[in-house]
């Protein structure tokens, strides 16, 4: 309004609109009067105040706040029930510059996730845990939580919680304060303005500690759940102050940097030294070689065809060419004859995800895999099929399809086992993604038996020769009837 200045408004750490649903994109999914919204606001405000929004990763739990990633305009990861501190540990250790927040409810943190929170706290992980305790399972419909009060009626304690049967309410702050390693532990409540302001300071302090590299902090926030308590929002909030706060005393349980005893010195060794092996990879002069190219592949067939190994060979070759690689296997419990496939990425850049939904190259070692994955190949991609001709009625108009009867060739060489190497050679010849010498050098490391190594050499040659000589006479087929 004219003459007025804004002093409190929606934090920029929230998205403008929440894309969870087509309608009501300006509202959260929380019930009227829910404490989660207030906790969200306090976190968002602290992130903005401390200038941390752009480097924050929020780990959302399972529970009512499962959709937190729809609201916070930060990095978001949603994890399995109770595992947020474990996921946060991994995130923080792999990205130490990020501010990692584990946001959890009482069912999540104090029940299924008890192990994770105790160990994360005991390791003194440099993360913030915001623990919203409303003494009941909200999202699932009001079952008893470890933090439910004595006598509290829930759907699973219809006569009220009994200490003799269900134990006493779990006091997480007191429990974790028994450990030496946490830096900051405080319990706050959302029952009135004074306590909300205390909660605000606690949330900010926890984030400041992480920003300063201070170690593990946990803020437990006693919060109302009007829906499950079947109370008016105002009554539910007062209930927190009158009942919940009495059972869970507020206060600071820990506020100091832990002093840890010095540990043994870890010797600095190269991987080869640690494994007591010789450096076998050849020295590469130039970090980027002109005869390598980025490629994403899916290699599929049945277990026992060397599907996964083919992917590993490719990855190893690219590693030796100083490329970034990823290899993601997918297979059933069977060792043989089940369906197996792997995703391989070869790249000169860092690889974001090892999962390849639209490969540039599909190597189908059997008909089933051809049918299953052909449609996922990108437009202009390549399909290598382990047969002399395509199955009747098969069509993949977007890709070039090359038939290489790798199994047949391998049989002629004397062992069906080298079909994968024949196909690998055909791939290298067809795409020129990596030099063939590189494959030979990897095979020399992997295959110890001289007779088998010779067989593999022959397989490499046979695969290349096939592509060089036979492709021209119609083994490459397209639905339009032309051969390439």
């Amino acid at each position: 309004m004219n003459g007025y200045e804004v002093i409190h408004e929606k934090s920029p750490a929230f998205y403008d609109r929440y894309l969870r649903k087509d309608e009501l994109q300006q509202q959260t999914h929380y019930c009227p009067g829910c404490g989660h919204g207030i906790v969200h606001k306090l976190i968002a405000e602290a992130l903005t105040d401390l200038g941390l929004q752009d480097r924050t990763i929020l780990v959302s739990p399972v529970g009512c706040s499962v959709f937190a990633y729809y609201y916070f305009d930060v990095g978001n990861v949603q994890v399995a029930h109770g595992r947020a501190p474990a996921a946060a540990t991994a995130l923080k250790r792999s990205r130490p510059e990020s501010i990692v927040i584990s946001y959890q409810g009482d069912g999540d943190l104090a029940a299924i996730g008890t192990a994770e929170i105790v160990h994360a706290a005991n390791r003194g992980e440099n993360i913030c845990v915001f623990f919203v305790n409303n003494s009941v399972y909200g999202m699932t419909g009001g079952q008893m939580a470890p933090t439910s009060l004595i006598g509290e009626v829930t759907t699973t304690s219809p006569w009220g919680r009994r200490a003799s049967n269900e134990g006493l309410p779990l006091h997480v702050c007191e429990l974790l304060a028994a450990l030496e390693t946490p830096t900051y532990i405080e319990r706050v409540a959302l029952n009135d303005m004074k306590n909300i302001m205390k909660a605000k300071r606690a949330v900010k302090k926890a984030l400041q500690i992480q920003k300063d590299g201070g170690g593990f902090s946990l803020v437990e926030i006693l919060s109302p759940c009007p829906t499950i308590m079947k109370m008016d929002p105002v009554v539910a909030r007062n209930w927190v102050g009158e009942t919940l706060v009495k059972a869970f005393p507020l206060g600071v349980f820990r506020d100091r940097r832990p002093e840890l005893p010095p540990g043994p010195k870890i010797p600095v060794k190269t991987v080869a030294e640690a494994l007591e092996v010789e450096e076998s990879a050849p020295e590469i002069a130039s970090p980027r070689r002109h005869h390598t190219r980025d490629l994403t592949l899916k290699i599929a067939g049945f277990g026992g065809q060397g599907i996964l190994l083919m992917g590993q060979l490719l990855a190893e070759m690219a590693l030796r060419e100083q490329m970034e690689v990823s290899w993601l296997p997918s297979y059933g419990p069977e060792m043989r004859s089940g369906s197996a496939h792997c995703h391989v990425s070869l790249s000169h850049e860092r690889i974001g995800s090892p999962l390849i939904t639209q490969p540039e190259v599909l190597i189908a070692m059997n008909e089933l895999s051809l049918h299953k994955f052909a449609a996922s190949v990108v437009s202009g991609g390549l399909i290598l099929y382990n047969h002399t001709e395509l199955p009747v009625g098969f069509s993949a108009p977007q890709a070039r399809v090359v038939c290489v009867p790798a199994s047949e060739i391998a049989d002629r060489l004397g062992s069906a086992k080298v079909a994968n190497v024949v196909m690998l050679a055909a791939l290298l010849e067809e795409t020129e993604c990596l030099p063939a010498e590189s494959a030979i050098s990897v095979l020399e490391t992997v295959v110890k038996n001289p007779r088998l190594l010779e067989l593999n050499r022959q397989a490499m040659k046979a695969g290349r020769d096939y592509v060089d000589t036979e492709i021209e006479v119609g083994a490459v087929s397209q639905p339009d009837g032309y051969s390439y």
């Binding site: 007025y4 409190h8 929230f14 300006q26 509202q27 919204g37 606001k41 909300i196």
Partner: protein
């Protein structure tokens, strides 16, 4: 104008879920639930237009991230000091 309230509250009726926590929390009692229903089907909170002090209690008690915006009256001195600045900016923009 000394009678002008120190604060001002803007409530987005599309975001308000009508929980009433702000109404209950407001120290000068200047918020009410509107008699009419919002698009969402609840009685959204409403500023009576009088007595707001800009304390921000309603903002922090409200569970919705953007339902409430609180403004505070710019003190007369600061307000006059702010005017030339704005004019400068406008001049620069026209240049």
């Amino acid at each position: 104008m000394s009678s002008q309230p120190r604060g001002y509250v803007i409530i987005d009726p599309e975001e308000c879920k009508g929980c009433g926590l702000c109404v209950d929390s407001c120290p000068p009692d200047c918020l009410v639930l509107a008699p009419g229903l919002s698009k969402y089907g609840v009685h959204p909170a409403q500023y009576t237009g009088e007595d707001c002090t800009g304390c921000g209690a309603c903002f922090y008690c409200c569970p919705e991230p953007g339902a409430i915006t609180v403004e505070r009256l710019i003190p007369a001195k600061a307000a006059t000091a702010a005017i030339p600045k704005t004019q400068e900016v406008t001049r620069e923009a026209t240049l």
